[in-house]
Amino acid sequence: MADLTTNFLGIQSPNPFWLASAPPTDKAYNVERAFEAGWGGVVWKTLGVNPPVVNVNGPRYSSKLSNERRVIGFNNIELISDRSFETNIREIEQVKKNWPDRVIIGSAMFPMEEKYWLELIPEMEKAGVDGFELNFGCPHGMSERGMGSAVGQVPEYVRLCTEFCKKATSLPVIVKLTPNVTNVVPIAEAALEGKADAVSLINTINSIMGVDLDTFNMYPNTGGMGSHGGYCGEAVKPIALNMVAEIARNKKTSGLPISGIGGISSWKDAVEFITLGSTTVQVCTAAMVYGFRIVDELKSGLSGFLDEKGIASVNDLVGRAVPSVTDWKNLNLNHIDKAVIDQDACIKCGRCHIACEDTSHQAITKEKDGVRFFEVIEEECVGCNLCVSVCPVENCITMVAQTEGVDLRTGKPIVNTHSDWTTHPNNPAKVS
């Protein structure tokens, strides 16, 4: 049985699965239930200054559903904790006493003035939190008041606020990043400059879920008027993975510990985040859709995976895939893949053909001897993977690397040496 315990910034957690700062960690009742279910830790719903914020009394959530009504994407306009600072502190203290082996991270969002941080962070520390997460990500409501993503979008503000917090505590400080920026790396660098111990990402993405086609009102809306929310859930995972990897492979920030967030709904998702540089992962939407019990699947799947791969602990998995991420210019232009269709598995739906024929390289047949037959024309195939992407049958079409002979498309011999854009003759800025 693999070891799921993790050490993140010196904080021990029985497993790497934490609940993100969000409605599931709003109060003692929820967090107690989460710990009973087996979650390794929680980032308590973000605390703000008194008086507490107020929420709308209409829809806070909305979802992008499949036709089978499975939640693919999720959006919310809920603000930070709408309960008083003291109530939260009292509950944190009690829950931490009840569950000393579990992690409670205190999430904070205060105005950009030092006095608030110096006053309130020590209060939270006294309540027994294991560390802090600074919410510089919330993209709705709070950002209009100069907090949340309004801070997270400006590197200088991020550095400044991180410094305020670090001044107020000796506990680890995690800076939570917003994806609503063109490049997340400078923000992570600013957090590091402010002496952040780690970053967590991503927070939610600005979003409107749709429009009611009868009323022409955007939704979700509050009595007809709506405001953008934050998008999360399975649909955002690829965006989150990229941002995690960008930070993990960036020279300045490589080695900065990461808590990965964004659409994690299975153990596989968690493994992907961990191999791209996260040490722990945070989950919200999957729990909001299915309940806290999903942690059973997460733990069992991760443990089984580690056993199968012969990897002793989660820490040994961290960052394993980071070296595979590079700039486009470094990709090997001598490498040649061709699609191969397994005729025994092919159900003859023709989707590969029409996709390739209409929108790609006209490299898949539609018939042979007058009957439906879908086969790759090697002379035309550029190895683009479109057919694999649209085929409804798993493993029916695979990309096979060509290692010898001649590429039938170009007529050129296949070589096993590396050659990339940096030295390509067509590159005006090539390295000679």
Partner: protein, 450 residues
């Protein structure tokens, strides 16, 4: 897929079925998809390129397109896609042997052995339009041309609809009291409940430009010659009015009747409790009509129903699904058996003698092995015939008791087209009849409007 679970197929020996039991037994056998299940089912369609399901449909409905329209909640667009190709798409969704047509060729059969429920999806789309009565079609400018259609069945009405859309005026002559043909008189009741055949006719009539004259039969009230004189073109969709005989002694004894006649009575009955049903029912034949009469007899309360078919299951005209449907409804199918004698008592059938058959050098032969079967009700379902004694039809070139037509459904006589069961279109199906009507209409229109 929901099915009707309340069916009573084994009544107590000396009781008849209650009104409630009869109602359950003749309720819709394939209840429609719900708004929830339709989304899930539509999501299963792979939207194949040059889709095999469409190729398998005699009317070439663009099935992937209409399913995608359902998926995107453009139900009315889906109905238009279906009805553009097949104006009787609602009835076909109910009665097509989809397992041999669209669903039989669905690529999901290869993938997971369970095709997309195309028939039920088609029904969902067409029913949604039918229930609101929303007219999806409009007539083109009046051409001033008049066409006579003989027979208000699927071929005739499909032809009339297409011709009217193209701007022509159509008069449909129908022998029976109601339009619809076999949709109204010949299909098992539980396949088309709630007077659906008439609703479909009404939808076609709502387009305008079509007049139906009932009680008018070719050879009795009309002659082909006069129709040719009075109209710019004639479309014959007279079906098969004759019924094949068994050619046995006592064939006219009491208790013996043509299956199609009884089904017609059943379909027109206001109260199924008033119908008499035998205790020991025997059906001769192996097609859809044989299955329909056998199952309906069982569901009416017959104690024992047997089908006698001279060949094996693979040769049956009825599809596998139909055959299994009969068997699970308690119908006993005797393969490789033929009726060789009808025994009567007081001029009523009391027993039949059955001879086993076998194939010998490709020919079907009796084996000489005989047994008897107690019988008080015998249905003949050995096929229908073109009544080519009728004046008008006997002037046309016929082959194996069907009117000969070309690819555009033109007969040997100038200005006369034909379609449906009275020609040999390769099927005995509503969907094929609709296609005949559609093709003939387009050719007629082009031909008379030059």
């Amino acid at each position: 897929m929901r099915t009707n679970d309340n069916v009573v197929i084994h009544p107590q020996s000396d009781s008849t079925l209650s009104a409630k039991q009869l109602e359950d037994n003749f309720a819709d056998i394939h209840p429609p998809l719900t708004d929830t299940t339709v989304g899930i089912e539509a999501d299963r369609c792979y939207y194949c390129y040059d889709a095999p399901c469409t190729a398998a449909c005699p009317t070439s409905i663009d099935i992937p397109l209409f399913i995608r329209q359902i998926y995107t909640k453009d139900t009315s667009g889906a109905a238009k896609t279906i009805l553009d190709s097949n104006i009787m798409g609602g009835m076909c969704a109910r009665v097509c042997p989809t397992e041999n047509l669209c669903e039989g060729d669905c690529v999901r059969n290869t993938h997971e052995d369970k095709p997309v429920a195309i028939g039920l999806l088609q029904r969902y789309a067409t029913d949604s339009v039918q229930s609101t009565g929303k007219q999806l079609f409009e007539r083109q400018a009046d051409t001033g041309k008049k066409i006579a259609v003989v027979g208000a069945g699927p071929a005739g009405m499909a032809c009339a609809h297409q011709l009217s859309m193209l701007g022509n005026s159509v008069t449909v002559f129908e022998d029976k009291n109601k339009a619809g043909g076999l949709n109204e008189y010949g299909i098992a009741a539980y396949k088309t409940v709630d007077d659906f055949a008439q609703k479909e006719i009404q939808y076609i009539m709502d387009l305008g430009g079509i007049e139906i004259k009932t009680g008018m039969a070719l050879g009795r009230d009309l002659t082909l010659g006069n129709l040719q004189k009075d109209f710019d073109a004639v479309f014959l969709a007279v079906g098969l009015a004759g019924v094949r005989a068994l050619d046995l002694e006592n064939e006219c004894a009491d208790g013996i009747q043509d299956a199609v006649d009884y089904i017609s009575v059943l379909r027109q009955s206001d109260d199924l409790k008033n119908l008499s049903v035998g205790d020991n029912v025997v059906v001769i034949g192996g097609g859809m009509t044989a299955i329909d009469i056998a199952v309906q007899s069982k569901r009416l309360g017959a104690k024992r129903v047997a089908i006698i078919y001279r060949r094996g299951p693979d040769e049956m005209g009825a599809s596998d699904v139909e055959r299994k449907f009969a068997q699970t409804n308690g119908v006993d199918i005797h393969f490789w058996s033929k009726i060789s004698q009808i025994v009567t008592n007081n001029n009523a059938v009391s027993e039949i003698v059955i001879e086993e058959t076998k194939l010998a050098e490709g020919e079907l032969k009796g084996t000489g092995k005989m047994h008897t079967m107690q019988t008080d009700s015998l249905f003949k379902a050995v096929g229908q015939l073109l009544d080519n004694e009728v004046d008008g039809i006997n002037q046309l070139q016929c082959d194996r008791a069907k009117i000969v037509v070309d690819i555009n459904r033109r007969t040997s006589s100038e200005g006369v087209w034909a379609g449906g069961d009275c020609i040999d279109n390769g099927y005995d199906l509503v969907v094929a009849a609709v296609e005949d009507g559609k093709i003939a209409a387009r050719d007629i229109h082009q031909s008379i409007n030059g």
